[in-house]
Subunit: 436 residues, 2 copies
């Protein structure tokens, strides 16, 4: 290990100053009532709209640098902010304000035989670190969801969006300051430190966040598999993995062929770049003759390239590309899909266990026993019957908003709404109770 440079030491110290302010703010934010948090969210929305000129200007700098660096138009589109987009971001903040507050909810409670009153209630997690890609709207979305659930957000966006994120976080902090009644000091105000940007744009600034155990309560990385894997490997702060989706559509022997084609096409093509898009389809051998030719036609009409095994290729050896192992593992996020014929439902389950990412799988079938068996045997965050994989989404599930889709089993699994940003504590009330 080489000696850290003066710059590195300074960056680490700047990080610790921010993290300690975040920690202190978390203690003040946690007990605040809903009204204080909602007022703060509306103040943030107002300020974003009022100061959208500043935001657009900062964003133009990021976009210009991205163009110089030869970033793809798709990524530049995700990076870009306009007055209209900022208005939409502000509207989303107001929607978060309108959601119920999970904090204080009694999860369970009863009076024990000895008369002790036992309640398990929801409390904020504390400080939530979010590592994400070059989409500045996430800066505000994540801050709003954290604030509403009583958590301090420590935001670490892509360095490509640093100027935009700096402007957005500065405006949010100003809004929290100005939403405070000037006199007398109210005990229900949200501290300006409740929204924090991790200082610096170096790789080290991510490392500081990952090693901030005791200051940061949980890290949520949002992005590609390599980012998430590196966070999981290096972090001593507990991590919630999100977003990698290698989702499969299984067409059972008892499927309605037209329904299966429609679900497959919707799951693959309705929005191919997202984690709940289908990346593989598996076809029971008994329905292959009826299903595969129709499916290939329908997918081709949408511009999809199929990567199939020999049994799929037999239906159209010229247009179906030969699939490799890598195809079955792939999260394409493009107009590609892997395909395989299976002999049994169980073989489909084994394929999913082997290659899937545990996000969403769907069975198309008219058979109730087949549906029941698939649901029991497939171990994914969402298992669907006769529905498109595209429905795995916080908004679609009625949660109002989501911070991400967890593909791990601890704490939260599937779309994470506000309750998933909380922990619980037990409140035990006695009358001098002693243990005998």
């Amino acid at each position: 290990m080489s000696e850290p440079t003066a710059e590195e030491v300074e960056e680490r110290e700047a990080f610790l100053r921010v993290a300690e302010r975040a920690r202190a703010a978390a203690a003040d934010l946690a007990p605040l009532p809903r009204a204080a948090k909602d007022a703060a969210l509306h103040a943030i929305a107002d300020a974003l709209v009022a100061r959208s000129g500043e935001i657009v200007k900062a964003n133009e700098g990021d976009v210009a640098r991205a163009r110089e660096n030869g970033i793809s138009e798709y990524m530049i589109d995700r990076l870009s902010l306009s007055t209209e987009r900022i208005a939409a971001i502000a509207a989303a903040v107001r929607q978060v304000a309108a959601l119920p507050d999970p904090v204080g909810e009694t999860v369970r409670g009863n009076v024990l035989p000895n008369g002790l009153d036992l309640r398990q209630i929801r409390v904020p997690l504390g400080v939530v670190g979010i590592i994400y890609e070059g989409r500045p709207n996430v800066t505000v979305d994540a801050a709003a969801l954290c604030l509403k659930s009583g958590n301090v957000a420590m935001l670490r966006g892509s360095s490509s969006a640093f100027d935009s994120n700096t402007a957005l976080v500065g405006i949010m902090q100003d809004a929290l300051r100005s939403s405070r009644p000037t006199e007398p000091q109210s005990s229900t105000e949200v501290p300006a430190d409740a929204v924090q940007l991790v200082p610096g744009t170096s790789r080290d600034s991510v490392k500081h966040l990952m090693r901030a155990r005791g200051l940061v309560d949980v890290l949520i990385p949002r992005g590609g598999a390599s980012l998430i894997n590196s966070v999981v490997e290096e972090s001593t702060v507990p991590v919630i993995e999100t977003g990698v989706g290698n989702c499969a559509v299984y067409v059972d022997a008892a499927a309605d062929v037209d329904m299966a084609v429609d679900i497959l096409v919707n799951a693959k093509t309705q929005r191919p770049s997202v984690c709940n898009a289908a990346e593989t389809f598996l076809v029971h051998k008994d329905i292959a003759d009826a299903f595969i030719p129709k499916a290939l036609d329908a997918l081709r009409a949408k511009g999809v390239t199929v990567h199939g095994d020999d049994r799929v290729r037999a239906y159209d050896p010229e247009k179906v590309v030969a699939a490799t192992e890598d195809d079955y593992y792939a999260e394409y996020l493009s107009l590609d899909i892997a395909a395989r014929v299976v002999d049994t439902l169980h073989d489909a389950v084994v394929h999913i266990r082997t290659y899937g990412s545990g996000h969403t799988e769907t069975i198309v079938t008219g058979s109730q026993p087949a549906a029941k068996r698939f649901v029991a045997l497939v171990d994914s965050a969402a298992v669907m019957v006769n529905a498109s994989t595209r429905f795995t989404d916080g908004e679609e599930f009625g949660f109002g908003a989501e911070i991400g889709i967890s593909t791990q089993k601890l704490h939260a699994r599937g779309p994470m709404g506000l309750p998933e940003l909380t922990s619980t504590k037990y409140v035990v009330t006695g009358e001098g109770h002693l243990r005998g």
Copy 2:
């Protein structure tokens, strides 16, 4: 890094063979109905009793080695098994069989506006790794709780108990084998691989478990702070921290003095070696004159040494030892307690935030506003009012049994019963639903 020795390579390969068998067993165990799991638990209990002679003999070897190594009598008592203790362990397994099965429970569910049926149901975590100290009863307790919740247990006890644990796990696996109907193969049988002992006794065997991401779903270390910290630092498998308890009793200005003395003495002395015993008491200055002399007398009568600040020592400078910073951080697990006078309830909260481990804190007070404020501001797994800290316990809370007491905020917090050994999945049922 030096080249691994042939022995190290062999140990790692042996670990991977066991972990892969565990992974495969998890898939078979997860969908089993309650009856199959309960039958397996009763078969285990029967076998432990029937073969207790073998267990005692294996245990004698461990105990003899422990004596040679000069282990304390206290530790030897924890390590030792007798026919009576084995009968108690078997009885505990039957109690786990009698608990409700958390798997399959619907956590929430509704029909979405578009007609999709959405249910969130409990599913097993998969493979649960447990790292624990030299108490062979934990081998069986943990295996039973995992089995009942549909999880495969990967057990890594102290090397001091390796022979005992090998005997116990061998007997449990045999019991699972013989509980299988011989013919025809039933689909509801629990696989013998559902209980696994991590092979080897070297430090590396713990490392293999900590790096088995993808094979092991969660690690639960049970033991002292240094074990838990090293697991947290090194593990890429998600960890649930348990068991470090630096618990405080806060005696508020409005406390009933006699109740406060009784709670303090109970919390400190009823069982000093456990994590929910009190290690600190904090006294509001306005009640110090009334409370401290009585408390010092009562604690002294139980053989407790008080480590106090100057304001506590003023009441008995000869017998109260001067407290250092380390005393406030200490989890004594002995007849020692740290003490401090505070000016306000808020100062008590700040002390707890600074030095506490987030396990259990209690306030003794007759004031409802003070109780409410303490409950709101103290961020611990359990916050109590007018009750002994000793009540933070799965049995006491009515959960029937516990795998440990989580002091972290993710996934589970406080006593962990069977539901805390589960994850969830979303089951979504449509009729050809497409996303528009």
